[in-house]
């Protein structure tokens, strides 16, 4: 069956939906305890509409992935139609009235049916329609007709009247509708009669605009726009000029323990909950808190955003121009870590401390310096890592171009056979994904209370960070004392390894949030 312009949302970035079954422990999360995807079965799962059931692929999903669909304008239109058509026999009123009732109740089918059954006539009148009113039609040949807008009259005039009794000539109606449609209105357009609450239904609007295809098209667009805006389970892709709508049924109540990341068909990965760029593994409420904090502390963050630092050994000024944190001072050749300023040699060992804020030393610090100073330092520790990954992610993109050029150069000079450089862009995609995850992982860590569970999280974070830095360095300087084939094999291996670490961190945090494994502080 054709999918009517919908993508299934079971894909993981950057492994774009190849469906690899490398889910180590095969752990698929049971969402059943927290909320029920099938809640809306009545609306979306039943199948007399010609849709494939949305709930289908729970078993293929990774623990951090949520179910969603991407719809184009056509798909959104069909979605509306399906919902309306399903309700017409339930209410047994005209499709025109059913449509208005659904729109008027923000598509909340259940409460609408309840209200309708208790008092059908009132429900219809409250929505601006008229029970038992005949279907709207263009009339003519009425001696008594006078248009209250232009005062034209006589039997030759063509006019349309609504259930409220107000009638206007088609010319006036079309002019009136055109103005409203261009203002962005659709189903909320009311009868032109003074203080009249009656709605010009979709059937009447389509009848009147039949000879105005451009306006009719805008009208239909406006209808779809209000459909997506009115439904909690739909949102627009926030990418500029992107016209896709995303459908996701993870309820708002679950956003504290699930990050509803969705991938639009245009390539944009964003959070269905808050419309920000993908912020896994931190849940929306911590993201919001963090960004507010960063805004409040803008002075300190400005200071940190500065792109220069001094060499810890000779004090020469060093500018960071690659994503890699392994810095080598041009003047004295001292190797150190950009983030913690510690010697790089220590970072290569398992005893890696760069990601971990030393809570002990902060406790001791309270004796000598004020507590607020310690709090600031704690914040700065996490903030500097957060912003560093953000910056590195941007630099990684630029890096791809230069590295590709370098490799092509090498090939030409060494008269080697052509090696496709696809693996490089795969590595950079992986790097970007890891940078984003690492960035937000520091926000999660900032709010986590220190305990053994946090230590386990930090181990995963540290593993991913180390692997990411190694891959970044490799991509920046791939053919350093290596043949191209060696470099390629190394990068592919390392990319695969990084992916494993990345998935481990995401799996662990997704499960941990579900299990309330961590305590969060202010």
């Amino acid at each position: 069956m054709e999918d009517l312009g919908s993508d299934s949302g079971v894909q993981s970035q950057p492994d774009k939906g190849k469906g690899t079954a490398d889910d180590e422990d095969g752990a698929t999360q049971d969402y059943g305890d927290t909320y029920d995807f099938d809640d809306d079965d009545e609306f979306f799962g039943m199948d007399d509409s010609g849709f494939e059931p949305v709930v289908s692929s729970r078993d293929q999903r990774k623990p951090w992935e949520v179910e969603y669909h991407v719809h184009d304008a056509h798909g959104l239109h069909d979605k509306q139609e399906a919902m309306i058509n399903r309700l017409v026999p339930v209410l047994s009123v005209s499709k025109d009235i059913t449509t208005i009732l659904l729109r008027n109740s923000q598509w909340k089918e259940e409460s609408l049916v309840e209200r309708y059954l208790s008092d059908p006539d009132k429900t219809i009148r409250d929505a601006g329609m008229f029970p038992n009113a005949p279907a709207p039609e263009l009339k003519t040949g009425n001696e008594d007709f006078t248009c209250e807008i232009c005062y034209c009259d006589g039997p030759e005039e063509v006019y349309l009247g609504l259930g409220c009794g107000h009638a206007f000539c088609t010319d006036c109606y079309v002019t009136y509708l055109t103005g409203k449609v261009l203002e962005g209105m659709s189903w909320r357009i009311r009868c032109p009669g003074a203080k009249c609450k009656a709605l010009v239904g979709e059937q009447a609007a389509r009848l009147l605009l039949a000879n105005e295809p451009k306006i009719l098209e805008r009208y239909e667009d406006n209808l779809t726009r209000s459909f997506v805006n009115d439904l909690d389970s739909f949102t627009w892709c926030p990418a500029p000029n992107c016209e896709y709508g995303i459908e996701c049924h993870v309820p708002k109540s679950a956003w504290a323990t699930i990050v509803p990341t969705v991938h639009c068909r245009c390539g944009k990965a964003f959070c269905f909950g808050c419309n920000m760029d993908d912020h896994m593994p931190a849940p929306c409420f911590l993201v919001e808190k963090w960004l507010q904090k960063c805004k409040d502390d803008s002075e300190t963050s400005n200071w940190l955003k500065a792109n220069t630092k001094e060499c810890t050994k000779c004090k020469a000024t060093i500018e960071k121009n690659g994503g890699c944190n392994h810095m080598t001072c041009r003047k004295c050749a001292h190797e150190f870590c950009w983030v913690c300023m510690g010697p790089w040699t220590e970072h290569q060992q398992a005893y890696y401390q760069c990601n971990r804020y030393n809570e002990d030393s902060s406790k001791n610090a309270r004796d000598s310096i004020s507590k607020s100073r310690a709090l600031l330092e704690r914040y700065l520790h996490y903030y500097s890592r957060f912003s560093n990954h953000e910056r590195s992610a941007k630099l990684a993109r630029r890096l791809l171009t230069t590295t590709e050029t370098n490799m092509e150069q090498m090939q030409r000079n060494s008269s080697m056979s052509w090696i496709e450089v696809q693996f490089l862009s795969a590595a950079v995609d992986m790097l970007s994904a890891c940078r984003a995850t690492l960035k937000w992982s520091y926000v999660l860590a900032y709010y986590m209370e220190s305990d053994n569970q946090k230590l386990i999280f930090e181990n995963n974070q540290s593993d991913l960070e180390m692997a990411t830095e190694t891959l970044n360095e490799l991509v920046e300087n791939p053919v350093h004392e290596r043949t191209i084939e060696e470099a390629k094999r190394l990068i592919i291996d390392k990319t695969q390894y990084v992916k494993t670490r990345w998935e481990t961190l995401l799996r662990d945090t997704a499960q941990g949030l579900q299990e309330n494994r961590w305590k969060f502080q202010d």
Binding site: E148, I149, C150, Y151, C152, H166, F168, D171, C172, T175, Y176, G179, R190, P192, G193, A194, K195, C196
Partner: protein, 153 residues
Amino acid sequence: MSTVTRRLLKELQDIQRELSEEIVSLEPIDEDDILQWRAVLRGPKDTAYENGLFELYIDIPEQYPIHPPTLTFVTPVCHPNVHFESGEICLDILKTQWSPAWTLKSTCLAIHVLLANPEPSSPLNCDAANLLRCGDSIGYNSLVALYTQMYSM
């Protein structure tokens, strides 16, 4: 003949046939320009505006009646929803609630009703609105009566 002209001529005919007692006069300022009108309202009975005469200037857009006309008081009026200097009027039917079925006459009648029934929640004249909002109707009425006497009698 354009829609706006045809409609306004019809309105004029209707007005010449019958004009309600709240409106003293309602007609185009100049015979050659059907898009600019002048109206004179009688101050509502049993209010501080009583016995006053209030002149309005009516500017009609080409898209009338799809778009509303602009009405401004020429006579200075002390009223919470009327700007004292510019004469601008804050009334929903002149903005968002406009319907093409309103006429110049029914619009003038709506303004007449507004004179007697101010809406202090959307004020253009804060002094008048504040008096009303603190429940000082004696103060409000004497202020209005003073201005009515000064400018509109």
